[in-house]
Assembly symmetry: C2
Homo-oligomer: 391 residues x 2
């Protein structure tokens, strides 16, 4: 009876993350006593910053575990707005900020508020794999925007304009992005957003890696205007992954509808998480985040200096986030198979290109996340070098 | 520019909770120094149980704030399965349990895994208002199942079978339910689930008020078979509202697809919330929950004894949850207007019938939530009596 039950097309066609199969195998190997170096996880090895933890404890002491308003604690929305002003010089009315269960919740709200069935959404290929599933949730049509290796998989205004079609309603761009770490200047993003608006369309800018920039200042499209919708998260820069808290910035006119959707879909984001996040923009937390950014910068340099000499050219800028997208085509025609063997034979877990789209020749690429310390990265590079020598 | 932006039909047509306008006005009045008695909120006045809080603190001490697997901590899934066995005599494989961001997340997963656009979903009218919005999210068609006041708004196998139409794929029933507190015997629910299965359809049973029963034992449809999908929550019985944690029990064959959806949509439920919930089924927490159930039972009795004598007959059993659905048609033709005046003139906030559906003559009803203590309930009854005398 169980297996004969009809499952939706949505559920039947949602692809697994390919890295999950590798992760499961990595766990098996670890259980057998193998030492596995994890370069596949999009979660740094740093603990949640102590001021954030202290704020969480304080909330528990005060018994703050009841429902909050659907759009989040007013005080948290104020603090986020103040941070836009203080760190980025952007004027954002707190009323435009909706706190959400992770950036995932923010993306669901944004696309739910913008898409009718059949509407097209431009998605970078390569890009974050879950985006496609949010588009499909609402009957939207993912329209892959294949980027070119020759330009480091960087999107551009020209690519956006020529990809925008009859049915396109939304374009989604991340800066810094996943998997390449590319950054797009915020002023340019605002131009794109205005261009989309002129077509009654919308640019959504994913800024969840905001702050994690190397060699350039962190920025926001919101400092240049209010044409774009923005999603953000406490997960990455503020080290709050497991708290599942993010936010959406939408135009004032759209917020009442967005809030009603949030009421119905989420009731509210987690309460202790929100109180914890109140400490995210404190001087102490920002100092910790900056120290960590500097550590990540060293790890990044370490990899960027070593990889090309191993016949592993890096694609894109790797200027932000904590990812490096690597061309392995000199060693294999099937990067997924390379990932599998790298795990089995060398004990190094990485993510295959296939998880980031099908249109950009993903079989040529793997993604490395520098989310473990320099000693482990050195070990990983040694294992990688030995593995490649044996090919 | 902002206001001219096109918003989706979904966002344009999502109705507000009518109680929210009343809540906002209640806050204004409170800010003016008025004493408002809150009988509108679906959240009891009890704090989160101390063993749950202690488990949350312990998780913070151990730094447990990183991502968990998408389906939740394996240990938590095991504990939920053990509780099904210990308290309800139900055999549920932990692999069938997916931990979610609130029961909201569970409902989103269940409907996303079951609905194709155009599929019909039978929803009780009166019933929980957000259900319609989850159906619409996936392009499904809410099919209201108007229940009869003459039978206390109780659904029945006959009503279900006659409402099931050509396009119906899913029926959603809560037990105990909101807003009437009606219970449906679990064995009967299982029969309905089997009947739905025979039509390649699915019965989803909402058991989020499980445990909150008066005069009958708490039960689960899962003790009678595995034909139904079940959603549940730590919010109500375990007093964990702001932690936003629930779960879904799905047939084994559907779980891999459900897990992939959860990976893409949520990444994972909140980590500290999950560790806190590990203490929900402990002997100490269950003892606290039982004490609270007894307090709720006294509040319920207090209201049930007083209301009919005030010309306010109660509809339905009020056998579970913490709601009483009251017929106010002897006093008004417009229960929403009554709610508004009750707030303004008597300082008592209640929920209008309109929030629970449009097909059951909602203008005749209001919902009282006995989520404040007996002293406040006495005050509320006095205010209500004086208000009605003035009519």
């Amino acid at each position: 009876m169980t297996d004969s039950q009809r499952i939706s097309r949505l559920a039947n066609t949602v692809p697994p993350f390919h890295v999950m199969a590798l992760l499961e195998r990595a766990q098996q190997l670890a259980a057998q006593g193998r030492d596995i170096i994890h370069l596949e996880v999009g979660e740094p090895d740093f603990p949640c910053p102590s001021p954030v933890m202290a704020a969480a404890r304080h909330a528990l002491d005060l018994g703050q575990t009841r429902y909050t308003p659907a759009a989040g604690l007013p005080a948290l929305r104020e603090i986020i707005a103040a941070d836009y002003r203080d760190r980025f010089g952007a004027q954002v009315d707190p009323a435009r900020i909706v706190v959400t269960p992770g950036a995932s919740g923010a993306l669901q709200l944004a696309l739910g508020a913008l898409l009718d069935p059949g509407d097209g959404v431009l998605l970078c290929d390569p890009g974050y794999p879950c985006n496609r599933q949010f588009v499909r949730m609402f009957g939207g049509v993912p329209q892959p925007m294949p980027l070119q290796a020759s330009t480091g998989f960087r999107p551009s205004g020209d690519i956006l304009r020529s990809a925008w079609g009859e049915t396109t309603r939304v374009a989604l761009v991340a800066s810094p992005d996943n998997p390449t770490g590319n950054r797009i200047p915020a002023g340019e993003l605002n131009d794109w957003a205005r261009w989309c608006r002129e077509r009654q369309g919308t640019l959504i800018v994913d800024e969840i890696y905001q702050g994690l920039c190397y060699g350039a200042e962190a920025e926001t499209v919101l400092a240049h205007g209010d044409a774009a919708w923005v999603i953000n998260s406490f997960s990455k820069y503020f080290g709050m992954t497991g708290w599942r808290l993010g936010w959406l910035v939408a135009p004032a006119g759209a917020v009442p509808a967005v809030e009603r959707l949030a009421q119905n879909w989420f009731l509210a984001p987690g309460t202790v998480a929100q109180h914890a996040a109140m400490a995210a923009f404190s001087e102490d937390t920002l100092a910790i985040a900056e120290q960590r950014r500097q550590l990540l910068a060293r790890r990044r340099t370490l990899l960027l200096e070593a990889l090309p000499g191993m016949g592993l050219p890096v694609v894109g800028d790797s200027e932000g986030a904590f990812y490096i997208y690597v061309d392995v085509s000199a060693h294999t025609r099937d990067s997924f198979e390379l990932c599998r063997r790298l795990l089995e034979e060398a004990g190094v877990a990485v993510t295959p290109g296939l998880d980031f789209g099908e249109a950009h020749l993903p079989e040529r690429y793997i993604r490395l996340a520098y989310t473990c310390d320099e000693e482990r990265l050195h070990q990983a590079l040694e294992r990688l070098a030995r593995f490649l020598e044996r090919q």
